[in-house]
């Protein structure tokens, strides 16, 4: 989900969100773009956990108090972690059958639910995601700090775009009693917000990051305290200026812009798309080649719920532009 959204957002830019960015095994240098992809992955995980929770696919999305974190949930969350490690991109959490859920725990839950109800799914999902991110990036070095920070920004975006909905159900349906809940914004909205953050991201120096990681020793373990670098709250951070995405660099995982498609549509398109040929091709020193293609396109469509789009087929010649 994260990749799809990322790719459609960056379709007309030099960096087009290649799949390799989402490969966890690869350690990438901390550019704006990796920062963005970290954030969107985290947001994607939180979003899909929320969705799966409300579909009843994951156990333990319920009766979650902020201070206690029941054991079976931790077990489950370890399971998610395994999944996430194996699946590098799209996070799809399927229903997992864990034998570890004892009946007793379930009964406790039921009692708790009957007493006070639990409806905290979105919050729960972002807490879980934060834990997953923490356990994925266990390092205490600078890149780990940066990627953790950016992932947290992604989660925060989810949290800040939650909407509160209320419903009155008092006497005769009046508002003497009303109940509210929070609802996660659609992922489209979140990914667009993250793209704005990508534009506004802040560059930090190596030493500033080091300063913010305070390492203290305790008897058993190394204690790591992390504090925020001033001015980076709710901002994506990066260290290295983005490389030249025009040229191919396999080690860093991008293919250059040669062969990419650009658009010369003038009407009814975004600014980015309008300038895409100049940005993606010409400025990189490529030339734009126009290829004419005859396509059968759907036109005059009439959508009828659910699944049918009644369209005429129009044959037209379209120009496709490529960088060569």
């Amino acid at each position: 989900m994260a990749i799809d959204h990322c790719q459609s957002l960056f379709q007309w830019e030099r960096w087009n969100c290649p799949k390799s960015t989402f490969n966890r095994q690869q350690r990438l240098i901390s550019t704006k773009e990796t920062a963005f992809s970290k954030a969107i992955i985290a947001a994607g995980i939180a979003h899909s956990i929320t969705k799966n929770c409300s579909q009843g696919q994951i156990e333990g999305c319920k009766c979650q108090n902020t201070d206690k974190f029941p054991i079976d949930q931790q077990l489950k969350y370890k399971n998610h972690q395994e999944k996430i490690k194996t699946l590098s991109g799209d996070v799809r959490i399927k229903k997992e059958v864990t034998e570890n859920v004892t009946k007793g725990v379930n009964n406790d839950k039921n009692v708790e639910w009957r007493w006070g109800g639990c409806s905290d799914n979105p919050m729960f999902a972002s807490q879980i995601t934060e834990k997953i991110i923490d356990s994925m990036e266990t390092g205490i070095d600078v890149p780990a700090y940066i990627s953790r920070h950016n992932a947290k920004v992604g989660i925060k975006i989810i949290q800040s775009s939650m909407r509160r909905k209320c419903r009155c159900h008092g006497i005769s349906g009046s508002c003497t009693t009303q109940t509210c809940w929070i609802q996660v914004a659609p992922f489209e909205e979140i990914s667009r917000k993250l793209k704005d953050l990508h534009r506004k991201s802040v560059r930090v120096t190596h030493s500033a990051v080091e300063k913010s990681i305070i390492i203290g020793n305790s008897a058993s373990d190394v204690l790591v305290q992390v504090k925020e670098i001033p001015g980076t709250e709710n901002r994506l951070i990066y260290m290295v200026r983005s490389p030249d995405y025009c040229v191919t660099n396999f080690t860093e995982g991008y293919l250059g812009t040669k062969g990419r498609m650009c658009s010369r549509n003038r009407s009814n398109v975004t600014k980015m798309e309008k300038n895409s040929c100049r940005n993606v091709c010409k400025k990189c020193g490529h030339t734009v080649k126009r290829m004419q293609k005859k396509v059968a396109r759907r036109c005059n469509c009439k959508f009828s719920w659910c699944c049918e789009v009644k369209c005429d087929t129009c044959h037209e010649v379209v120009n496709e532009h490529f960088c060569i």
Binding site: S54, W115, G116, S119, C311
Partner: protein, 544 residues
């Protein structure tokens, strides 16, 4: 109503009584602390199942799709819906989520539908008002002793229309796939949560000729927000009622007993007080216990009616109380309800309107839980008409009440200015009336202010946009128990303090021995049991 306990009680005893009331009040607020919030929501994402034989399942009432249906799809995947049409799709929600089951303590269930619709590139921006046709079926199931579930049984079925308002943000640059911002639609309301599990099978049939769902765009997700009472809150609530009910009953019998000890017929205000007590006792009657063993879908309607009767009585009481303390000597018929017919009719009209409205909405929901009066234009107009009429009569009522209170105060100030020149008996009589009136005015104002402030507080609390995780305090339940307790205590206090006093009976514990009585009355006067203030007045003057 000459000679009430309030006037004859010593300052010390009055303060003790008031502090007991305040402690009870505090206890009610504290009780709210242990209760969870009155209701919670659970959001359930519908599983989209494919019905291969939509025609045969149309009439079948025993064919149910569950979350584990044989073929489920993701609507966001365009490939999944190839070859299907709207009649094939069944949106399945099993309530509650996961391995939980409903408890009868949770009382009622409200279902609200949220349809996530996205913009398609080939599509025009839809007109904002979308008419939905929803074919919804409800089934229920119960737990079996060995931990399983009984098979789904038919509960209800209806095809209803709903209106949904959708806005598309035009500013968005990349429109394709961007969601519309749609309002939610109320789907059903169950007055009793008798069974352990419920299942909703929702279809959105498409039919061009009968104009079913023709405006609907591409739906990606359907969510059902379920709102149910919290079991814990019901428990606290019902125990509050169970405690108040016998206390109130005993106070009422004591009061009525006292009134009957007098050698006269009860006066109007005493009738009003006892009937106010009766309506409150009816409200306090913990019939919620019955809903634990019997299926009572009319509970919502019944609780509306109970509250409505109580409020109507309370409003009438205030009106008549003000009228009876007018301090103008009129004639013999001042003790009858007839004198107040104009004022009382505003209450009657208002309450009748609300009752009809409630019967139209919740009454019909007994038969069809998916029914809503707000859907059809006629229904909406009718409902609005009733509500506006009720609003007008409420406004009229308050005008009457304010006018009467203003007149009482005017009379009080006139009488005050001539008080020193009066004979002592006359003065004490008037001071008694003024004191009684001021006391009720003060307590009523305090209670009303507390109610209004707490209501506003709860609105502010609920209305805030930010979600605060650390907020553990359940303000709304504190307000509910606190305000409920407050009106109970208010009426108990009225019954005790406005009961006729018999100072000459030393056995009665509630009567002071008269060391520091607020108004030492002349023994002759308190012994004579007049019916009206007028006769008492003449008696006094004759003594003088």
């Amino acid at each position: 109503m000459p000679g009430t306990i309030l006037e004859n009680l010593s300052g010390k005893k009055l303060s003790i009584l008031i502090s007991v009331f305040l402690i009870c009040q505090l206890a009610c607020f504290l009780l709210g602390l242990i209760a969870p919030s009155p209701a919670t929501t659970q959001t359930i994402l519908a599983t989209v199942c494919v019905d291969e034989n939509p025609l045969s399942s149309r009439s079948a009432t025993d064919k149910w799709f569950t979350r584990q249906c044989s073929k489920s799809i993701q609507l966001s995947d365009p490939k999944a819906t190839i070859g299907l049409d709207a009649n094939n799709l069944v949106f399945v929600t099993e309530m509650p989520l996961l391995n939980l089951d409903y408890s009868r303590w949770q009382q009622n269930l409200v279902g609200i539908l949220q349809i996530d619709m996205v913009y398609q590139n080939e599509q025009k921006i839809l007109n904002p008002m979308i008419e939905l046709t929803l074919d919804s079926r409800l089934a229920f199931s119960d737990k079996t002793p060995n931990g399983g579930k009984t098979p789904w049984k038919y509960y209800s079925h209806a095809e209803e229309k709903r209106y949904m308002n959708c806005i598309f943000e035009e500013r968005v640059e990349e429109k394709h796939g961007y969601p519309y911002n749609c309002t939610m639609v109320a789907l059903f309301e169950l007055g009793s949560l008798f069974h352990d599990y419920y299942l909703l099978n929702l279809r959105m049939p498409y039919n061009y000729t009968t104009k079913k769902n023709i405006d609907l765009g591409k739906v990606e997700d359907v969510y059902l927000h379920t709102i149910y009472m919290n079991g814990g809150f019901t428990k606290v609530w019902v125990s509050l009622k169970t405690v108040f009910f016998p206390i109130l009953l005993s106070i009422m019998t004591w009061f009525w007993h006292r009134v009957h000890k007098l050698n006269r017929k009860p006066v109007l205000l005493e009738y009003m007080l006892i009937s106010l007590g009766c309506t409150l006792a009816f409200l306090n009657l913990p019939i919620e216990f019955l809903s634990l063993t019997f299926e009572m879908p009319y509970m919502l309607l019944l609780s509306d009616i109970r509250q409505g009767i109580f409020y109507a009585m309370l409003l009438s009481f205030w009106l008549i109380f003000a009228g009876e303390h007018m301090l103008i000597q009129e004639h013999a018929e001042r003790n009858t309800l007839k004198r107040y017919w104009k004022h009382l009719s505003t209450i009657a009209v208002g309450c009748l309107c609300l009752l009809i409205f409630d019967l139209c909405e919740r009454g019909v929901q007994l038969v069809n839980p998916f029914y809503s009066i707000w859907v059809t234009p006629v229904g909406t107009n009718l409902a609005l008409a009733f509500i506006i009429l009720a609003g007008i009569s409420a406004g009229l009522y308050f005008l009457f009440l304010c006018y009467m209170i203003w007149r009482v105060f005017k009379n009080i100030s006139i009488k005050r200015s001539v008080l020193p020149s009066m004979s002592q008996a006359r003065r004490l009589h008037y001071e008694g009336i003024i004191y009684r009136f001021n006391f009720l005015m003060l307590t009523t104002l305090i209670c009303a202010a507390v109610t209004i402030i707490s209501f506003i507080l709860s609105q502010v609390d609920e209305g805030q946009d930010k979600w605060d995780e650390t907020m553990d305090l359940e303000l709304s339940s504190i307000i509910h128990t606190g305000v409920y307790g407050m009106w109970n205590i208010y009426i108990c206090a009225m019954l005790i303090l406005y009961a006729p006093s018999h100072k000459q009976w030393p056995l009665d514990p509630n009567c002071s021995d008269g060391e520091e009585v607020e108004f030492s009355r002349i023994p002759n006067e308190s012994a004579s049991n007049e019916i009206s203030a007028l006769t008492s007045l003449s008696a006094k003057t004759s003594i003088d």
